[in-house]
């Protein structure tokens, strides 16, 4: 990794060792999502791994950061 930024590198990398989020793969209506569990019934989309069509990558509901309520 070569960082080319105006931010000091020590600021950018601060807390890098302790930050280890856990993600899970989830099949959601035919789409493979990478999600982070935020509660018993909610997951937050980290990334759409594979959509039904490529247009899924433009779907607002499947954008990273959106929360899916499972039940």
């Amino acid at each position: 990794m070569t960082m080319y930024t105006i931010m000091p590198l020590e600021v950018v990398t601060q807390g890098m060792d302790s930050h280890k989020p856990v993600f899970e793969e989830m099949n959601w209506q035919g789409r493979m999502l990478l999600v982070e569990r935020i509660s018993m019934h909610e997951v937050k989309i980290e990334r759409l791994l594979q959509g039904v069509t490529v247009n899924d990558y433009l779907a607002a509901a499947l954008q990273p950061g959106n929360i899916i309520r499972l039940s």
Partner: protein
């Protein structure tokens, strides 16, 4: 592959899952507790349409919408191979690239607007995004708001037409590991190669010359922690880095006009020739934000395809 399976047939939603911990993890853009959209509890035996409304907030899987322009935000750090800690607001390579691919192949999308406010980031990821934008077949306009620093510079110049807000800044400085002394000659040579990639891309996609760009990059006395230059709005245009001063209105005007040209001629090849622009010596004059540009960026032939455009002169014309 592990996965969730939602079983609704027996009336009771059941969740089966296997955790796949990723050693390196993946960062997220927002705090986990902030819900992105309101959700209602899922009914046990709701029909598929109702389930869609409850789960996704819409009756069907959302389409790109009515607009023929796709807007892309690039904000904070450009994140590539290494996950950055959560104090960084990041734009991730793996989010942007598939969106650009989808925008390229989606027939409803006719133009891409990229809005930049970035402090820089990973060289590989930044150059990849810049190359993707520059190789789109659809018209592209970039608008630099706030800042387009470091690796934001090649992204800013990657489009057909680049716009910068009058108050926005771009910091041009050398690539380095820590800002301290370079230890061994090999490290210097490696960073020099990385730097050369950036310089070459910027020079080939804007009107600035190699010498002028490097002069800005290695200038002393401007930055407190580094060598380099901060160019603000008009300075970026004067240097040939950015095409024009403006805001969202200017950016959309240009994008819509480019889309019309693309519709009429079926190609974007002749729309803007940045290097030709330099050779002609026809440097764009700065215009205050919100005003119609004093010179335009289209050839006369292209202008003729747009009835509303009257002042035909500028880039691409053989003077």
């Amino acid at each position: 592959m592990s996965q969730y399976e939602i079983e609704i047939d027996n009336g009771t939603p059941q969740l089966q899952m296997n955790k796949v911990p990723h050693a390196n993890g993946f960062t997220s853009d927002q705090p986990p507790q902030v819900p992105a959209m309101p959700q209602e509890p899922m009914a046990d035996k709701a029909p598929p349409t109702v389930q869609n409304i409850q789960q996704l907030g819409t009756a069907s899987i959302p389409s790109p919408g009515e607009s023929n322009i796709y807007c892309l935000n690039i904000i904070g750090q450009v994140e590539g191979h290494i996950i950055l800690p959560p104090q960084n607001k990041t734009t991730k390579y793996e989010h942007i690239i598939p969106q650009l691919v989808a925008a390229e192949q989606n027939s409803k999308i006719e133009g891409v607007l990229v809005i930049l406010n970035t402090v820089g980031g990973d060289v590989e990821a930044g150059l990849a995004i810049a190359e993707m934008i520059s190789s789109l077949s659809k018209p592209t306009v970039t608008l630099v708001l706030g800042g387009g620093h470091s690796i934001g510079v090649p992204i800013a110049v990657a489009s057909n037409i680049s716009i910068i807000a009058e108050t926005a800044t771009m910091t041009i400085h050398p690539i380095r590991l820590t800002g301290l002394v370079i230890g061994v000659p090999q490290t210097f040579e490696y960073l020099d190669k990385m730097q050369e990639r950036v310089v070459r891309f910027v020079v080939s996609h804007s009107n600035i010359t190699d010498v002028a760009f490097k002069e800005l990059m290695f200038k002393t006395g401007e930055l407190t922690r580094d060598i380099g230059t901060t160019v603000i709005g008009t300075d970026a245009v004067r240097a040939g880095l950015i095409d024009e001063i403006g805001g969202i209105q200017t950016a959309l005007q240009h994008l819509n006009r480019l889309i019309e040209v693309k519709r009429a001629t079926g190609t974007t090849d002749s729309i803007v020739n940045k290097k030709g622009f330099v050779e002609n010596g026809n440097i764009q004059q700065n215009s205050p934000e919100g005003q119609q540009p004093s010179t335009t960026l289209y050839t006369e032939q292209e202008q003729s395809s747009i009835p509303s455009q009257s002042n035909a002169s500028g880039r691409g014309n053989q003077i």
